[in-house]
């Protein structure tokens, strides 16, 4: 069956995620697609209630989302972890500094390689030798330590069950604490 892992679990559904985002009151999705989130972006094109806005650099996404929120909307950002690292000052200085309750879905590039190299729970920060290994992606190695350093709460997302539990929880924490939160997408959507 398409979308299944060797272990048998089914990849998360883009349609189901979008249903959940609608239920949470999302008005706009701002971001840049990657292979794992391409289905989500495709399904959002022409969506009746969520307006999709693609940007040229991830830093734009946080500033635009901040403007949308100040203007009374409920935006959401979808980018990849590489873009998250690129957009650090924008996240800090706009959504973060403005206290915008903003949920960000972040594609976790390199997550599977990190697990395969048994580095998923290794002590951090990683040393230079680890960060330059050919069999791992330093974007993945640096994602969680970076979010922790920035004070951004984050959770991992792996399945439709997480779509129902992790996504609403991250949304609620963002609203309650008036700050950005991140859900790390460890698997591609179908």
């Amino acid at each position: 069956m398409s979308g299944q892992r060797p272990g048998g679990s089914v990849a998360p559904s883009a349609a189901h995620l979008i249903e959940r985002l609608v239920a949470l009151g999302t008005t706009h999705v701002v971001g840049i697609p990657d292979n794992d989130t391409a289905q989500v972006f495709e399904r959002l094109c022409g969506h009746p209630t969520i307006r999709l806005l693609t940007v040229t650099r991830e830093g734009e996404a946080f500033a635009i989302a901040a403007g949308l929120w100040i203007g009374g909307q409920q935006p959401l950002v979808i980018i990849q972890n590489t873009g998250l690292l690129e957009s650090g000052d924008s996240l800090r200085g706009t959504a973060g500094r403005m206290g915008v309750p903003l949920l960000c879905l972040v594609g976790y590039r390199g997550y599977a390689k990190m697990l395969a190299a048994k580095l998923g729970t290794a002590p951090r920060p990683f040393d230079a030798a680890t960060l330059t290994r050919a069999d791992v992606d330093s974007a993945a190695l640096l994602t969680e330590p970076t979010l922790a350093a920035w004070g951004v709460p984050f959770w991992r997302h792996d399945s439709d069950i997480d779509t129902d539990k992790v996504v609403p929880n991250a949304f609620e924490v963002a609203a309650r604490q008036s700050q950005p939160t991140v859900v790390l997408l460890t698997r591609g959507f179908t």
């Binding site: 806005l53 500033a63 949308l68 009374g72 000052d89 800090r92 706009t94 206290g99």
Partner: protein, 196 residues
């Protein structure tokens, strides 16, 4: 070349109920011309992202005009935003670039390609249908009503004399009204104003 006051005074007279986002070297001067609750200072924020923020406001408030007083250095930091603005379909955004050729508030260092950048050409290349460039105060003042009245997005590049504005800081004693509160509080106040 215009002075900052020649740039800002006519805009303050004509802005009506538009949101005005300011940043960098005109941020404090604008506060001498306007005390509106619809002014927002992109200070203590992220460098180069005022135009993005203004785009978000414009998309959120499609029935209200939004003017962004952006710096030339700031615009250069996020040129891709020009494409995003056009692609967004926003028709209520006026992006006014204060072209003084310097990073004024950090010590007036020259921006890259100082004096050689044609922002109007860059904007037209990504699809802006309306662009203006001004170097003369009278011409600017005369045409500003037309600039603001038409359908956006519109990019306006204005050559402005380099000044001596220092670094920006948010403190209770700041001369500019919108620098007396935190960025977070400013965002909440504008949100509340816009939600009525």
């Amino acid at each position: 070349m215009l002075t900052k006051d020649e740039l800002l005074a006519p805009l303050a007279r004509l802005r009506e109920d538009r949101i005005v986002v300011t940043t960098m070297s005109v941020l404090r001067p604008w506060a001498r011309h306007s005390q509106s609750e619809l002014d927002f200072a992109s200070a203590d924020s992220a460098m180069g992202h005022a135009a993005d923020l203004a785009l978000g406001l414009a998309l959120a408030q499609p029935k209200r005009g939004v003017v962004c007083l952006n710096g030339d250095g700031s615009m250069l930091m996020s040129l891709g935003t020009l494409a995003t603005i056009v692609d967004s379909g926003a028709t209520n955004l006026t992006l006014l670039i204060v072209d003084n050729g310097t990073y004024e508030i950090t010590g007036s260092q020259p921006v890259p390609a100082q004096g050689r950048i044609d922002f109007g050409a860059l904007a037209r290349a990504v699809g802006f249908r309306r662009t203006y460039a001004f170097e003369d105060a009278d011409e600017y003042e005369q045409q500003l009503p037309e600039v603001l009245a038409g359908v956006g997005p519109v990019l306006v590049s204005v050559r402005v004399e380099p000044g001596t504005e220092g670094p920006l800081a948010r403190t209770p004693s700041a001369s500019a009204h919108y620098l007396r509160t935190s960025l977070r509080e400013s965002a909440r106040r504008l949100r509340a104003t816009l939600r009525g």
